[in-house]
């Protein structure tokens, strides 16, 4: 039984028990939950998600003829799209003030030989022994989103404020912006699909903590820190 489940009746000091368990993922009587994401990471995730949703929804209205015909109000819709797009990198930049967020970024950035092997193996046959805090698919998706946000921002700025650019470059910027928007939409659908199949992962992004067995199963090589159960 974990200390947090029975704090009153357990003579053992909960803090001491927690400290003793914090070395490795294994060990009986360990805390039932481990910390996965700090507040900065979660705040950056949900702010970026909200801004992305606004960008995609307004983009659909600007881009798809039937929706444009239905909604109209082009000036308002394009202003909302513009400001949501310009604000898109802000949560990630602000979160970079947090050391925990920067550690998450460093984890996402680095690929080990095991990551390459993981990518080359078919999903059902994958060995997860060497998977740390993030698996290779999560790392690739994070890099894709980071690159996509920058390219969308750059091409969007050329489209909106690019009077100094030649018309071919503005057309090119529009082409890249449109094509990458579709790729990003496909990527986000995949992201949501993966999340829909994994309640523990969703819990982690919502509350910051995940069940310890989930961490041991999905991310065995991740050095976890025990934590209190989620409060919502």
């Amino acid at each position: 039984m974990s200390p947090s489940e029975d704090p009153a009746g357990n003579p053992e000091d909960p803090a001491e028990a927690t400290a003793a368990d914090s070395d490795g993922p294994a060990g009986d009587g360990a805390a039932a939950f481990v910390r996965r994401f700090g507040p900065a990471t979660r705040w950056a995730h949900w702010s970026t998600a909200a801004l992305t949703a606004v960008c995609l929804a307004t983009a659909a209205v600007l881009y798809l003829g039937p929706l444009a015909t239905l909604v109209g109000r082009r000036q308002l819709v394009s202003a909302v799209h513009l400001y949501a797009g310009l604000a898109l990198p802000a949560p990630m930049l602000a979160a970079a003030l947090s050391a925990a967020y920067r550690r998450d970024l460093a984890e996402l950035d680095r690929f080990t030989p095991a990551d390459w092997k993981w990518l080359r193996t078919r999903p059902r046959r994958r060995h997860t022994d060497a998977v740390g805090k993030f698996n290779a698919g999560q790392k690739l998706y994070a890099a894709f989103v980071a690159g996509a946000v920058l390219v969308m921002l750059g091409t969007g700025v050329i489209m909106e404020f690019g009077g100094a650019f030649a018309v071919t470059h503005r057309t090119g910027a529009t082409f890249v912006h449109d094509l990458l928007a579709l790729s990003l939409f496909a990527g986000i659908c995949g992201h949501l699909w993966m999340a829909s199949r994994d309640p523990a992962a969703r819990l982690g992004m919502r509350t910051g903590v995940v069940p310890r067995p989930w961490a041991l199963r999905e991310h065995p090589a991740w050095h976890t820190e025990p934590d209190a159960p989620p409060t919502e």
Binding site: G72, D109, K139, R170, T171, L179
Partner: protein, 233 residues
């Protein structure tokens, strides 16, 4: 601490490089893809091919919805400083001498549709039919969308490349393109070519139109206004 190679940031750099390359050559690639997307689109009842990035017109409207007008209920009023105020049906306009232009359509936001075939009545002919009075220096156009307005000086309006257009793209102008009747001001940015044209008032001073009250240039010459240097049409 994290170990391994920094693949994540390399992916980001590669994407930035591809993005820059796309900006450089995207216009040419798009011309290429348009060539095989366009026929697909014409035979696509699902509209799914509209998702592909491609050239062509984009739909812009400043209001939530625009009423539909057909040949049965469409009317164009020409009034103000004129000798003979006119109320013209689509049939009246069709019976007037038609002029054909094959010119590009350039939007101030950057997209351009090349070699669009337009036919319609020269605005100059319409003004002659109504007879402008002394003191008439400008026109105010109003759309039956209830919000959009535009302006031209009389001299601009009398240019031979300014049409009250009845067809575009080899057919009657569709509702989404501003049909049944819209203006086509070839040498100016698209916002001057008011859609869903309902009213032409001859006036003594230029009243800036919808977008012009929101910062766009009143004299919207392509390549010489709005801080842009597009190739003139």
């Amino acid at each position: 601490m994290a170990e391994g190679t920094p693949v994540g940031r390399r992916v980001v750099f590669v994407m930035l490089g591809l993005g820059a390359l796309g900006v450089a050559v995207g216009a040419d690639v798009q011309r290429g893809t348009d060539r095989f997307v366009a026929p697909l689109r014409e035979n696509d009842p699902t509209g799914l091919t509209d998702l592909l990035p491609s050239g062509g017109f984009r739909y812009y409207s400043v209001v939530a919805s625009v009423p539909e007008r057909t040949s049965a209920d469409y009317e164009l009023r020409v009034h103000g400083l004129v000798d003979r105020p006119l109320t013209l049906t689509l049939d009246d306009l069709s019976r007037m001498p038609q002029t054909e232009l094959v010119r590009d359509f350039q939007c101030v936001t950057g997209w351009r549709v090349t070699s669009v075939r337009w036919t319609g009545v020269r605005l100059a002919d319409l003004l002659d039919a109504a007879g402008t009075r002394p003191g008439a220096t400008a026109l105010t156009f109003r759309s039956f969308d209830g919000a959009y307005t535009e302006s031209l000086t009389i001299d601009q309006a009398r240019r031979p490349d300014v049409l009250v257009a009845l067809t575009m793209l080899d057919g009657p102008i569709t509702h989404d393109h501003g049909g049944p009747v819209r203006l086509y001001v070839a040498p100016m940015y698209g916002y001057k070519s008011i859609k869903w044209l309902a009213e032409i008032e001859v006036v003594d001073t230029v009243t800036p139109g919808f977008w012009e009250q929101r910062g766009y240039d009143v004299d919207g010459w392509i390549g010489k206004s709005n801080g842009r240097d597009d190739e003139p049409v």
